[in-house]
Amino acid sequence: MGLIYPRESALAHPSNSFEGYRSTAKRHPKRPLVILPHTLSEVTGPVYGHEIVRPEDADLTLQHAGEPLGERIIVSGRVLDEDGRPVPNTLLEVWQANAAGRYVHVADQHPAPLDPNFTGAGRVVTDDEGRYRFVTIRPGAYPWRNHHNAWRPAHIHFSLFGPSYLSRLVTQMYFPGDPLFPFDPIFNSVTDERARNRMVSRFDLDTTQPEWALGFVFDIVLRGRNATPMEEPHDD
């Protein structure tokens, strides 16, 4: 199966220059981008699957001797292409702050506690139906220095490969109903409301486990459409 990559699909992405997000000012090209034909170099891409992950990679609450503090959650969903077809056997890398809104990263100076039982990095590979699932702790909101009283809504960072170099995606998953949404320039850098809402997970009672953890569902749609749509068989 070959995929095509319509250019208009990429219009969902934010612009690299977004005034509200200060750090973009010196980090975006000012020359127009050169339109690149999709050659073999673009329609191929790194292929990494089940051989690269370990079971504990998908449970961020089991990576240390003790249990991390915070609200245990289960995040699951499907990785799909634009036609809604599952993207199987593809790697997701996730990273996040702990329940107090603090990252393990050395550069994070937010005066909130580190949790010795939580690193906040995980990996998971989609199954044959494009499904993934990992267990973690609900991350806290955290302050940043973009503007006065700036706080990031709670989010989990996602990195995905998909079928080619053109489907590569780094994004953030948000939680439904976050009161910080109207104030966050990174979230609002996606100017189309429908596209923006595709970054918001939904609470799901079916994947919530009694006496254990809340379930959130986050489906991810990567670039790419089926090049040769199959004719539906007709019986009549």
Partner: protein, 197 residues
């Protein structure tokens, strides 16, 4: 059908302990050394600096590269030309140092097919991620000592000589291993040519 793709968001400043965790106790699955014991061809290093619009090195960037093997074949199902069993995956990832430097060890890629059956000059596909970038940027590394550059269909899309030069890595003299220098300037004087892919 779907409503559309999931939009990109910045990789942010705190990705290293997951994506490039050399300095953390997280297991590293991708490296800046793409070579395998069985790979043939010419071993090379590619080094450079990632710079912002003020010419200051960007210390929280991540560079990913994707390339063909020395015979010009990609380790991917869409490339159906037969491959040897070299284990060469063709993908590498490197963080930048505090002053914005990155370095890869790899092999010189071969020529790969291009549009209308024309071969492309040896090149490496590059993606750049950083705090302050809401989506990654695509560029390409070509090599200054390749005569095939003159006929490359992608380089031909950049007629301005000075701009085209930003896509061509310079061979450094006096290095023990063949080393190419490829700086990435996100903005301003000598801005790198980036592609809409």
């Amino acid at each position: 059908m779907t409503d559309g793709i999931t939009p990109s968001q910045t990789v942010g400043p705190y990705f290293a302990y997951c994506l490039t965790p050399k300095d953390y106790d997280t297991r590293e699955i991708f490296s800046a050394d793409l070579t395998t014991p069985a790979i043939g061809g010419d071993r090379i290093r590619v080094v450079g600096q990632v710079l912002d619009g003020d010419g200051v090195g960007i210390g929280d960037a991540m560079i990913e590269i994707w390339q063909a093997d020395p015979e010009g074949r990609y380790a991917h199902p869409a490339d159906d030309r037969a491959r040897g069993n070299s284990g060469f995956a063709g993908f590498g990832r490197a963080p930048t140092t505090p002053d914005g430097m990155y370095a890869f060890t790899t092999v010189k890629p071969g020529q790969v097919p291009g549009p209308n059956g024309k071969p492309q000059a040896p090149h490496i596909a590059v993606t750049v991620f950083a705090r302050g970038m809401l989506k990654h940027l695509y560029t390409r590394i070509y090599f200054e000592d390749e005569s095939a550059n003159a006929a490359d269909p992608i380089l031909a899309l950049v007629p301005d000589e000075e701009a085209r030069r930003t896509l061509i890595a310079r061979r450094l003299a006096g290095e023990a291993e063949p080393t190419y220098r490829f700086d990435i300037r996100l903005q301003g004087e000598g801005e790198t040519v980036f592609f809409e892919a």
